[in-house]
């Protein structure tokens, strides 16, 4: 590695006031032609390029990003990582990602601050209890760690939760995945960008795709704001804008794009050392290393590309948060933002070939794509390189909307991914 980060490089650079660190990735102009082009420089796109170069020996590739890398949903999510999904296909996909997360800092030589602090999912009514218990059983059959906690154990694990049975939606118990947790979202994009750049991948920022050129059923290249780029393989990882790119190729996708909001509070001393999610009342909260409470709200119930979201949505979330954690009642919120998420009818992603040769889509991650970043990149790279899906993403093809073989994670993942 040309510029390996270690305790020794840290000491060495301290002597020069940290002014001689090399740039972690370059700023190249696009070449005329690439073996493959990835559209979208978020975590998923950069991971795809990284694994294409690393595992499939494709070095002449580019990642096109219309803004700056990691500036879309990678930089806007609540950084929750877990794999406790109900169905076998989802369990396989998300646990594949979780296993990569566990060694990712070492692999990338970049501290992504992966913290396995556990994720707890709360149950607020009898149906929640049944569903979540069923999910822990399904998880364990798939080799994923999951335990059921009763109300008292929930309180022991996270003492600030209000377990009074007199509130509107009392806590009746919850599930806990101890291997789950959080990671530093920006670092994931930056770590993959640095790794990909080192293997010769061109990361081209401020380059928006304006059109896809086809010759019959085969893609030929892309029109971009930096000119025409020739390529026979295009992998689109454009999150909320996937349909916009698909329309350029004359393709329709089963997606709806909606704003999803999150917000953070002023920083305070450590108060919550895990991630608590509650689907029924739609509130989830964790605390960042800076001390801010990181709170995830819901999506607006209509299509919009505005990257802001409605006030009544965060109002509803904060009402639920305050009932569950009365201790937060005087906290001030610092920032609120929205990201555009592409939602599939079955709340599962699409990592698939299309009926246009050389055009691949990795989309539909909806409200919960961050947790899958490394696995998604790995499997999408496999799909692009071999023109065939890996067995772990075979179920997540576009054709499932024709065959009816959907992976319905609405019940298990619900709104709060």
């Amino acid at each position: 590695m040309k510029n390996k980060y270690s305790i020794f490089s840290l000491i060495k650079n301290a002597f020069s006031q940290h002014e001689n660190w090399k740039q972690a990735w370059g700023n190249p102009e696009p070449k005329k032609e690439y073996e493959a082009v990835i559209v979208g420089g978020g975590g998923h796109g950069l991971a795809t390029a990284y694994y294409l170069a690393k595992k499939h020996n494709m070095k002449n590739i580019a990642v096109l990003e219309k803004g700056w890398i990691g500036g879309g949903n990678t930089g806007r999510n609540t950084t929750i990582i877990r794999s406790n999904y109900l169905w076998d296909a989802s369990a396989g996909l998300y646990d594949h990602a979780l296993k990569i997360w566990e060694n990712l800092s070492q692999e990338l030589n970049y501290n992504i601050m992966f913290s396995q602090r556990g994720v707890m999912n709360l149950a607020h009514n009898l149906q929640d209890v049944r569903d979540l218990k069923r999910r822990t059983h399904a998880n364990r059959l798939n080799g994923i760690d999951a335990v059921w906690l009763d109300t008292k154990q929930v309180k022991e694990f996270c003492p600030i939760i209000n377990i009074s049975q007199d509130i509107r939606y009392p806590v009746l118990g919850g599930t806990l995945q101890r291997r789950a947790g959080t990671a530093r979202h920006d670092a994931v994009a930056w770590g993959y960008a640095r790794g990909a750049d080192e293997m010769g991948v061109d990361i081209i920022q401020n380059c928006e795709v304006k059109g896809i050129k086809r010759n019959g059923d085969q893609v030929e290249g892309l029109d971009t704001t930096k000119g025409f780029i020739k390529t026979k393989k295009i992998g689109v990882v454009a999150a909320g804008h996937s349909s916009v790119i698909a329309n350029m190729a004359g393709l329709k996708l089963p997606l709806e794009s909606k704003p999803l909001q999150a917000l953070v509070s002023e920083p305070v001393k450590p108060i919550i050392d895990t991630v608590v999610m509650s689907n029924a009342v739609h509130a989830y909260v964790s605390q960042s290393d800076k001390g801010e409470l990181v709170i995830g709200a819901g999506t607006d119930a209509y299509i919009s590309y505005t990257q802001r979201g409605s006030h009544d949505v965060i109002e509803g979330t904060l009402k639920a948060i305050l009932e569950l954690y009365p201790i937060f009642s005087r906290m001030k919120m610092l920032r609120q933002w929205g990201g555009i998420v592409d939602i599939c009818p079955d709340a599962s992603p699409i990592i698939s070939k299309t009926n246009i040769k050389g055009l691949y889509f990795n989309c539909g991650w909806g409200t919960g794509g961050f947790k899958a970043t490394p696995g998604s990149g790995d499997l999408f790279a496999h799909t692009i390189a071999n023109d065939e899906p890996h067995k772990l993403n075979a179920a997540f093809n576009l054709n499932r909307f024709v065959s009816g073989d959907l992976v319905d994670e609405h019940g298990a993942a619900a709104v709060a991914h």
Binding site: L253, I303, T306
Partner: protein, 91 residues
């Protein structure tokens, strides 16, 4: 968040309404004749436009009537509201 001019009740807050998605998707006249591809197209495939879009809305916490709306999804600006069965305006 925006204000919607319900054709029956007048201006109301958007939180009173629910969105029914893309408008003018015609229900198949002979469902038994449809192929799997045509069913997928009808049920799942959407234009999901960034820009001017025709969509259905319901005044769920009001008169509970359905109507159509033309809205720019890139800035949430509403261009027109018209009743079910009326001809879509040219925008």
């Amino acid at each position: 968040m925006f204000v919607i001019n319900c054709p029956y009740c007048g201006e109301r807050d958007q939180s009173e309404f629910s969105c029914g998605g893309e408008a003018h998707i015609v229900r198949p006249k002979q469902p038994t004749e449809l192929s799997d591809d045509e069913w997928a197209e009808y049920l799942f495939m959407r234009k999901n436009i960034k820009g001017v879009q025709f969509e259905r809305w319901n005044h769920a916490h009001g008169c509970r009537k359905w109507f159509n709306m033309v809205r720019d999804t890139s800035n949430d600006k509403i261009h027109a509201v018209y009743k079910m069965g009326e001809k879509p305006p040219v925008i």
